[in-house]
């Protein structure tokens, strides 16, 4: 019993160390990678343009629901005037970075993990290595760099459409005057909140993308399954782990900021 606890904790420590080495290797490989720019543009496309619709849709509906629920709660206290404050702070501080990251994990992260897993299984990664190409620098580094840029952008777009969603449900459909709503929004959002929002988004991007990359890259290497099963297992692990880590990271960062 005690021995198995020890073994599990050793495994965890080993895994974390391996993971950190992997992330470090990705960043250190950046200077040596050629034609990084084109791969970077492709990665921005995969995480940015391709995922934009889902982020915008989720953003609008989050704003709509926040407006609706917030209105009914606040109107009990006669404080509908604070609806803009509530919607904007919820969006900026929590909803936008977390939900945008979860959506990006679902769409781009899973695809990335599966792609890497297949590339591992069809020896494409081995082929890169035998060509003398740094496989991590070629496959992972551009995506990590793109995530640092794309996640904050997606969070910002999420906030913008979310605020519109809140104004639609709160002031167009329900009773809050739109001037009151927007002036409450303006009063509520401070640079501190935006900084929290964007730094959270960047950290989530880094976490999620590196977890997905790590899982995909090692598909079928550390575990008994192989072939399609290894890829599907790696993809599942990538999505579950990175979603959990985004929420855990959110709590930790929030407790530092507040």
């Amino acid at each position: 019993m005690i021995r198995s606890v020890g073994r599990v904790s050793l495994d965890v420590v080993e895994g974390l160390g391996d993971f950190s080495l992997f992330v470090g290797r990705s960043f250190f490989s950046v200077p040596g990678t050629r034609r990084l720019w084109r791969r970077f543009a492709r990665a921005v496309h995969e995480q940015g343009t391709v995922c934009l619709p889902v982020v915008l849709i989720v953003g609008v509906f989050t704003g709509l629901v926040l407006g609706l629920q917030g209105y009914h709660v606040l109107s009990r206290f006669g404080s509908e005037g604070l609806l803009g404050t509530m919607v904007s702070l919820s969006l900026v501080r929590e909803m936008a970075p977390v939900l945008a990251a979860l959506m990006l994990i679902g769409q781009a992260g899973s695809a990335f993990a599966a792609e890497l897993g297949i590339q591992r299984n069809t020896e494409q990664i081995a082929a890169l290595e035998t060509m003398g190409v740094d496989s991590v620098g070629y496959l992972v580094a551009p995506r990590l760099l793109a995530a640092l840029l794309v996640y904050p952008f997606q969070a910002a777009l999420f906030v913008v459409v979310g605020l519109w969603g809140g104004s639609v449900s709160g002031s167009m459909l329900l009773g809050v005057d739109s001037g009151v709503y927007w002036s409450a929004v303006d009063r509520a959002i401070e640079f501190r909140d935006l900084r929290e929002c964007f730094s959270k988004a960047a950290v989530f991007g880094l976490l999620a993308t590196s977890i997905c990359a790590y899982q995909g890259f090692h598909a079928g290497l550390n575990h008994s399954a192989s072939g399609a099963r290894a890829v599907s297992a790696a993809t599942t692990r990538a999505v579950v782990l990175s979603s959990i880590m985004v929420l855990v990271g959110d709590y930790i960062i929030s407790s530092f900021f507040v």
Binding site: R34, T122, T130
Partner: protein
């Protein structure tokens, strides 16, 4: 055996185990340069593992590999040098499915050399032309037939003008006609480009025709090494068993059918 200068690849005491099962148990082999050297062996004999150890994809547990007289392993410079001068053709071709044929071929040049764009383009097109693939330069690998993918993979392997090309089961899953075509392709471009080919395969008759030298890998060891003619005439029991498998099959089938006289 031969002097170090004529021997491009030297392998000594190469061993590898997976999960406690020993796959390679001390392989010694010298590959002379400028020829087609084939390692034969039944499925599961560790041929692919052997080739991956040589290619530096799978780290061996023990043993030393030297390339062109320089030991590989810890020395990163020697390893980089080896990678630049060695091409690998994978069993599943390992083509990048998101890139076109031309992009696949130019990738190793783009990533590992400092050539300019035009030079890369012209060398890649030349490699495609050599393998009669220039009409398919903008096709993605998924849109090509198995034989074309093989040719494309060879084009990618030789575009860097390597001195040694490793072939991992180049004929796996192909019909006899295609098998012949693949061996013909290897022989043709080996002569044309002048590289040394190290092939692992289980297709005995094709390999015997196309190779300059063969070795037999079985139970994790090299059981036999010599010319194809030696192989054919060898009385070594493992060689004989592997070589004469067709005759053995014929005998087995005959034994199965013989008790039924009505079947005639």
């Amino acid at each position: 055996m031969g002097a170090a200068s004529s021997c491009i690849l030297g392998i000594r005491g190469l061993s590898k185990s997976f999960h406690g099962r020993e796959v390679l148990s001390g392989i010694d082999l010298e590959v002379p340069s400028g020829m087609i050297f084939t390692v034969l062996g039944p499925s599961g004999a560790g041929k692919s593992v052997f080739l991956k150890c040589v290619a530096g994809i799978v780290p061996p547990d023990a043993g030393a590999i030297s390339f062109d007289g320089r030991p590989l392993g810890r020395d990163a410079r020697a390893m980089r040098d080896f990678r630049r001068r060695c091409g690998v053709l994978f069993q599943g071709n390992a083509l990048f499915d998101s890139l076109t044929a031309l992009e696949n071929v130019s990738l190793p040049l783009e990533q590992t050399t400092r050539l300019d764009k035009e030079e890369i383009q012209s060398r890649s097109l030349e490699a495609l032309r050599q393998l009669e693939m220039e009409d398919f330069r903008d096709h993605h690998p998924g849109a090509l037939s198995g034989g074309m993918q093989k040719r494309l993979a060879l084009a990618r392997a030789i575009v860097t003008q390597p001195e040694l090309v490793l072939f991992d089961e180049p004929t796996a899953g192909l019909d006899p006609l295609r098998r012949n075509a693949v061996f013909a392709m290897i022989a043709k471009y080996q002569r044309l480009a002048g590289f040394t080919a190290l092939v692992v395969t289980h297709d005995v008759p094709e390999a015997l025709v196309a190779s300059d030298r063969v070795a037999l890998l079985e139970k994790g060891r090299i059981q036999f090494e010599g010319t194809p003619a030696d192989f054919t005439s060898s009385t070594h029991p493992v060689v004989a068993q592997f070589r004469d498998s067709e005759a053995a099959l014929r005998a087995t089938i005959a034994a199965i059918r013989s008790p039924e006289p009505a079947a005639a």
